[in-house]
Amino acid sequence: MPFALPDLQAAFAAHLAGEERGELIAAVIGDSIPAAARLRVYRHHVQHSLASALAATFPTVQALVGDDFFRALARAFVVRTLPCQPVLAEYGAGFADFVADHEPARTLPYLADVARLDWALNTAFHAAPAPALTPAMLAAVEAERLPSLGLRLSDGVLLVRSEFPIDRIWAASQPGASLEQVDISSGGADLLVMRRPDDAAFVPLAAGEAAFVASLDAGNPLADSAEAGLRADPSFDLSTGFARLLALGVFAAPQQ
C-alpha cells in the first residue's frame, strides 16, 4: 500500500513538531546518511528558522535574556505554537502570554510585558498606513454630538500598560545603550505605540491619558472616557490630553 500524500504530509508535520514517526522513516531512502538523520535536517531548520523569526520580532526580550536562553524559550514556543500562515512578521501573537507562563522565565517578572511591547512595536511597524483623525475633522462635529462620540485607535496604534518601567527597561536594552540599572519596582509605564515614517516608536502617557485612551479604544464614548481619565488621575485635563493625542495622530479617521 503506497503512502498516500495526505498521510505522508500529516506524518511529516508531526515529525517536524518533534514526534517520532516510524512509518515516515521507513518511507525515506537512507544510505551512509540514514533516513532519520535526513529527516532531522528539516526538523532542525523549521525550529531554528522560526526561532530566528521570533528573535527578529522580540529583540528586546532576546537582549534581556541572552541568545541561549532566548533560543530555548523560542523553540519551546515554536513546538507548541507553529504559525498558522506564512507571513512571519505576523507570527508570535501568543509569545508574551507563553513567556508569562514559562517557568524558567519567572525570575524576570517584567519579561512578558517587554514581549508585549516588542509585539506592539512589530505590529505598528507592519501596519498599513491609514488616515488619522485631524483637529479639523473633529471641529466639523456638532458640539452636542461630541459627548457621545466614539473614537478608535488606528490600526497599528496600541496601548501597552505595565506595572513595571518597561520604557526604561527597553531603553537600557538597546544596542549601544549604557548599562543603566533600572529599579524594576520604581513604578509602571503606560506606553502608546505607533508607527512613524521609517520605524515604530512609543510615547509614555500620564495615568489619566492612558485611562482615557483605554476607555475610548474599548468602545466607550468621549464623555465616559473623560470621566475614566479623571478617575485614574484627578488632575487629568481633557482638553490638554486630547489635543496631545490628536497631534500624535493616533485616532482613526471616521470611515466615509
Binding site: 500524500l5 505522508l8 500529516a10 517536524l16 546518511i33 529527516l39 528539516y42 498558522c84 506564512p86
Partner: protein
C-alpha cells in the same frame, strides 16, 4: 549584451538601493515579506520606476494535498496586482499541513498522486493571478522510496500539464545531486528548454552528518565554484535567462552582492563569446 543578473532586495539594503540606484537587471522580493502593507512595501513601490521586479513566493505550499490557503493566495494576488512584477514564482515543495505553516520547502514524493496535486494547485494559482508562474526545483535532503518519477521527469510533466514556467535553481541542483547521490549533468539533460524562464544562483553550506558531508541550501555565502561551473553548462545548454543571485542569511554589504551578480553576467558573456567563436 546588457545585464541579465539581478539581486535579491533585502531590508538591510533597502535604503542604500533607494538612494544610489545601482545598475542591476532586476530586483527580487519574497512575497511573504511584503504582504502586511508596511512602509517597506511603499519603499519597493518607489523603486518600480527604475527596476524590473521578481515576486518570489516561499509560502504558497503548491505541494499541499489539502490545497491552497485561500486567504494567503488572495494576499499574494493583491501584491502581484499592485506591483505588476516581470516575474512570479514559487517552489516545487510544500510547507503547510493541517493549517500549520512550517517555514521550509519540504520534499514531495515524485508520484502521479503528487503530480495531480501540484498541477491542480499551480493551475489554481495561475488562474488567480491571471498569468503564468514559474516553479523552482527545490533543495532536497532526502528522497522517498515510493517515488516513481525523477525530479526532472516530474517537472517536465508539471510544465506540460499546467503550462507553468520552470525556474532552474543551479545551486539547488548541486545540493540535491550531492545529497541524493545523483549526477547533476544527468539531472540537467532533457529539461523542457522552452519553459525555462529564469535561473537562480546562491551559496550553500557543507554540514557534517556523523562524518558524512551534507550540503545545506542556506543562501549564506558567495556562490560556490561547483555552482559557477554548472551554471556555465546550463547557459551553454539552455541559453541566456534572467539570473538571480540570492543571499538571505549573513547578508553581506551591497557591493559584495553586486559583485556576485557581475560575475554571473561575466559567465553569460563568456559563453556568448565561445558560441560566436565556434560559429
Amino acid at each position: 549584451m546588457g545585464k541579465v543578473a539581478g539581486i535579491g532586495l533585502r531590508s538591510p539594503h533597502l535604503a542604500e538601493i533607494g538612494r544610489d540606484r545601482p545598475a542591476t537587471a532586476f530586483l527580487e522580493i519574497h512575497a511573504e515579506n511584503y504582504l502586511a502593507g508596511s512602509p517597506a512595501l511603499q519603499a519597493v513601490e518607489r523603486l518600480r520606476a527604475d527596476y524590473a521586479f521578481s515576486v518570489h513566493a516561499v509560502g504558497l505550499s503548491l505541494g499541499s494535498a489539502e490545497g491552497l490557503d485561500a486567504a494567503h493566495l488572495a494576499r499574494v494576488a493583491a501584491l502581484v496586482k499592485r506591483l505588476e512584477p516581470a516575474y512570479v514564482s514559487d517552489h516545487l515543495s510544500w510547507s503547510v499541513s493541517g493549517g500549520r505553516y512550517f517555514n521550509d520547502l519540504l520534499p514531495l514524493p515524485y508520484t502521479e498522486e503528487a503530480l495531480d496535486v501540484v498541477v491542480r494547485n499551480v493551475v489554481q494559482l495561475q488562474d488567480a493571478l491571471g498569468r503564468q508562474v514559474s516553479i523552482e526545483n527545490p533543495s532536497c535532503y532526502l528522497g522517498f522510496a515510493h517515488s516513481t518519477l525523477s525530479e526532472p521527469e516530474f517537472l517536465d510533466a508539471l510544465v506540460r500539464r499546467s503550462g507553468c514556467g520552470l525556474l532552474l535553481d543551479v545551486n539547488n541542483i548541486v545540493v540535491t545531486a550531492h545529497n541524493l547521490r545523483l549526477d547533476p549533468r544527468a539531472w540537467l539533460s532533457g529539461l523542457p528548454a522552452a519553459a525555462i524562464t529564469q535561473y537562480h544562483l546562491a551559496g550553500h553550506a557543507v554540514n557534517d552528518s556523523d562524518g558524512e558531508p551534507i550540503l545545506i541550501d542556506d543562501h549564506g555565502s558567495r556562490v560556490g565554484d561547483g555552482v559557477w561551473t554548472l551554471f556555465e553548462d546550463v547557459v551553454r545548454c539552455y541559453g541566456v535567462r534572467p539570473t538571480l543571485v540570492e543571499w538571505d542569511t549573513d547578508i553581506p554589504a551591497l557591493p559584495v552582492l553586486l559583485e556576485e551578480a557581475a560575475r554571473a553576467d561575466q559567465v553569460v558573456q563568456g559563453v556568448g563569446r565561445d558560441a560566436v567563436r565556434a560559429a
